[in-house]
C-alpha cells in the first residue's frame, strides 16, 4: 500500500512539475514582465497604432477564417460521412490533412506562387487592381489555409458515432432535409463542431509562419498580433511584446469561455456521457 501511494505521489509530482515548468512558469513570467513597470507602459503599448492595427487585422483574419472553415468543415464532413464518393476518399482525406503536415512557411510561399505578382493569377489580379499578397486578403487566405482541417477532423468521427438513425427518424416524421439538418443533425454534432471551432480559433490567432511570408510585415499595415509580438521583441520593446502576448493569451481564454455558450442546456442531458465521442468530456 505504502509503495502504491508513494508511486502515486511521485507520478503526480512529475506531472505537475512538468506542467509547471513548461506551461505555468513561462505564462506567469509573461504576466509578470508585462506589469513589471506598472500600468503606464502597458497602456502605451495598447494604444500604439501599430498594436491597434495588428489587433484589428488578427480579428479580421479570425472572423473570416473561423466561420468559413466551420461552414466548409461541416459540409465537407457531411459529404464524406453521409455520401462517401466511391473512389478517392483517401485522397480527399489526405488533402484535408495536408495543412497540418505542411510547414506554414511553405503554405505562405505556395500562396505567393499563385497570387503573387509573378504568380499564376498575379498578373491578372494586379491589372484589375486587386491586391492579395502583402495585403489583408493574403493574410486571410493564409489563415484559412492553415486552419482548414480542424472542424472537418473533429466533426467526421462525431458524425460517424451519431449515425443516421436520428436523421431517418426525422424524415419519417415529415422533416425536410434542411429541417433535419438544423433541428437534428447539427445539435447532435454540436460538440464536435464547437471543439473544432475552438481549435480553429486558437490556431488562427496564433498563426505566424504562413502569415509572416504573405503579409510583408509592414508595421501598422499588414502586421497581425503574432507578427507584432515578434517585431516588438526584435526592437527590444519588451513591454509591447509581453502586452501583446498577454492579449493573445486572453483571446484564447475568451474562446474557451465562449465554448460554454454551447454547453448542454441542462446537466441532465449529459448523463449519457458514455455515448459522447471519446476525449470530449473534458470540455463539458
Amino acid at each position: 500500500m505504502r509503495s502504491a501511494s508513494g508511486s502515486r505521489y511521485t507520478l503526480r509530482t512529475m506531472a505537475l512539475g512538468y506542467l509547471a515548468l513548461l506551461l505555468v512558469l513561462p505564462c506567469s513570467m509573461i504576466v509578470y514582465y508585462t506589469f513589471k513597470d506598472g500600468l503606464g507602459p502597458v497602456w502605451e503599448a495598447l494604444t500604439d497604432p501599430a498594436f491597434v492595427s495588428a489587433l484589428r487585422l488578427t480579428l479580421i483574419a479570425v472572423g473570416i477564417a473561423v466561420p468559413a472553415n466551420t461552414i466548409f468543415g461541416v459540409m465537407c464532413a457531411m459529404a464524406l460521412v453521409r455520401r462517401p464518393p466511391k473512389h478517392g476518399t483517401w485522397l480527399i482525406n489526405s488533402m484535408i490533412g495536408l495543412p497540418l503536415a505542411l510547414s506554414p512557411v511553405v503554405v505562405g510561399l505556395a500562396l505567393i506562387l499563385v497570387y503573387g505578382q509573378n504568380g499564376w493569377f498575379g498578373g491578372w489580379l494586379t491589372e484589375n487592381g486587386i491586391e492579395i499578397i502583402f495585403s489583408t486578403p493574403g493574410i486571410v487566405l493564409a489563415t484559412i489555409f492553415v486552419t482548414l482541417p480542424f472542424v472537418v477532423r473533429e466533426v467526421i468521427p462525431v458524425l460517424r458515432e451519431v449515425g443516421t438513425d436520428q436523421d431517418e427518424a426525422a424524415w419519417t416524421l415529415g422533416a425536410s432535409r434542411a429541417q433535419t439538418f438544423w433541428r437534428i443533425t447539427l445539435p447532435a454534432i454540436r460538440w464536435g463542431v464547437a471543439y473544432g471551432v475552438v481549435l480553429t480559433t486558437a490556431r488562427a490567432l496564433g498563426e505566424y509562419g504562413a502569415v509572416a511570408v504573405v503579409s510583408g510585415r509592414l508595421a501598422g499595415k499588414t502586421e497581425t498580433l503574432t507578427l507584432h509580438v515578434d517585431e516588438a521583441y526584435l526592437r527590444l520593446d519588451e513591454v509591447a511584446a509581453y502586452t501583446t502576448s498577454l492579449v493573445l493569451a486572453l483571446l484564447a481564454v475568451l474562446t474557451l469561455v465562449a465554448m460554454n455558450v454551447f454547453k448542454p442546456r441542462t446537466h441532465k442531458e449529459v448523463a449519457d456521457v458514455d455515448r459522447s465521442p471519446p476525449g470530449h468530456e473534458a470540455l463539458r
Binding site: L173, A188, R190, E269, A271, D272
Partner: protein, 327 residues
C-alpha cells in the same frame, strides 16, 4: 390491402441482393411480423416500404396509392428503430411533439396530443426528462409515441425490442399487442425472434436469403410449414433422416412396443413447467423431447436412464413441395 409490395428487388452497392423479387400484401389493421435470420432482407424490405431505401425494381403502394417514388417525409409512415433513434438533445415531450411541430400544428393542440400519447405509452411524468435519463424500454415507448403522434397510415417497427433484455422484451411485447388492439394502425414488425413473432403478430411472413418462404397465421406456419427452412425456423425441431419431428411430438415410454427406438437420457433441463429431455438414440443420433414436469415425475426420469421413444407426428418434405403431415 394497406400495404402492397410488388416484385421488389433491392441490390446494395457491393452487389449483395438483399431483397429478391418479393411480393407481399399486408391487410389493413393487421399486425404482421417479418421473421427471418439476420441478412434475410426483412429490415431492408421494411426500409423500402418506409422509403428509406429505394428499390431497384418493383413498386410499393400504401392504402392503394403508389408511393415508390415518394420520399419518406410524404409516405405517412411511422418508423421505430432498433436503437430507438431518440433525439438526445430534446426532452421526451419535444421528441414526441417533433412531427407535429414540423407540421406547424397549434401549440395547444400539440401539447394536448403529446399528453394523450404520454398516457398511451405510460410515460406520464417523464415529459421533461431527456432520453439519456430513460431506460431502454422507456426510450422505445417514447419512440413509439413519437411515431404515432403524426397518425401514420402504417407503423413500421424494425427489431423494436432487439436491444432490450429478455424480461423487458416480453413485457413490451404484450404491451405492444394491447396497444395495437387499442389504436388499430396497420403494423409491420421485423424480428429474428420466432417466439416474438408468434406471440405478437396476427400474420407472420418468414424470409430467408431475400425471399419470402411462407406467409400465414402463426399457428399455420407452425403446423403446416411450407418447407424445411420454415419448419426449423419457427420452432425447435429434430431431424431423423427425412422426418422432422417437433420435440413435443416425441413420446417417451418406459417399455418398448415395436415401433419405438431405444434412447439414453443424456440431460434433463428444467425450464419451469416445461422440461427438455436430451436423448442419445441407439445409433448415436441426438434428439430432444419436450415434456411437462408431471410427465418427468411420472416416468421418474433420471440422467443415464434407458428409454423408448416414438414420434407421435412427423413431417416429411419432398423437395420444395408442400409438406406431408403424417399422424
Amino acid at each position: 390491402m394497406s400495404i402492397a409490395v410488388r416484385q421488389v428487388t433491392k441490390r446494395f452497392a457491393n452487389g449483395f441482393v438483399a431483397v429478391d423479387n418479393v411480393s407481399l400484401a399486408i391487410a389493413s389493421g393487421s399486425l404482421t411480423a417479418l421473421l427471418g435470420p439476420s441478412g434475410s432482407g426483412k429490415s431492408t424490405l421494411l426500409r423500402v416500404i418506409a422509403g428509406l431505401e429505394t428499390p431497384d425494381e418493383g413498386d410499393v403502394s400504401i392504402l392503394g396509392e403508389d408511393v415508390t417514388g415518394v420520399p419518406p417525409q410524404k409516405r405517412g409512415v411511422g418508423f421505430v428503430f432498433q436503437h430507438y433513434a431518440a433525439f438526445k438533445h430534446l426532452t421526451v415531450r419535444d421528441n414526441i411533439a417533433f412531427g407535429l411541430v414540423i407540421r406547424k400544428r397549434p401549440k395547444a393542440e400539440v401539447r394536448a396530443r403529446v399528453d394523450e400519447l404520454l398516457g398511451l405509452v405510460q410515460l406520464d411524468g417523464f415529459a421533461d426528462r431527456y432520453p439519456a435519463q430513460l431506460s431502454g424500454g422507456q426510450r422505445q415507448r417514447m419512440a413509439l409515441a413519437r411515431a404515432l403522434a403524426v397518425e401514420p397510415k402504417v407503423l413500421l417497427l424494425d427489431e423494436p425490442f432487439g436491444a432490450l433484455d429478455a424480461r423487458v422484451r416480453k413485457e413490451l411485447r404484450a404491451w405492444l399487442r394491447r396497444l395495437h388492439d387499442q389504436v388499430h394502425v396497420t403494423t409491420v414488425l421485423v424480428t429474428h425472434d420466432q417466439e416474438e413473432a408468434m406471440d405478437v403478430a396476427d400474420r407472420v411472413t418468414v424470409m430467408n436469403d431475400g425471399r419470402i418462404e411462407q406467409s400465414g397465421k402463426p399457428r399455420d406456419l407452425y403446423e403446416h410449414p411450407a418447407n424445411e427452412f420454415v419448419m426449423s425456423f419457427v420452432g425447435p425441431v429434430n431431424r431423423l433422416g427425412e422426418a422432422w419431428i417437433r420435440p413435443h411430438d416425441l413420446e417417451l415410454r418406459l417399455e418398448p412396443n415395436g415401433t419405438t427406438s431405444e434412447a439414453m437420457v443424456e440431460r434433463i433441463v428444467h425450464l419451469g413447467f416445461e422440461v427438455r429431455v436430451e436423448l442419445v438414440l441407439d445409433d448415436g443420433r441426438l434428439v430432444s423431447a419436450q415434456v411437462t414436469r408431471s410427465e418427468v415425475e411420472e416416468l421418474e426420469l433420471l440422467e443415464g436412464q434407458i428409454l423408448y421413444v416414438r414420434p407421435s407426428r412427423t413431417t416429411v418434405f419432398s423437395g420444395t413441395a408442400m409438406p406431408q403431415g403424417r399422424p
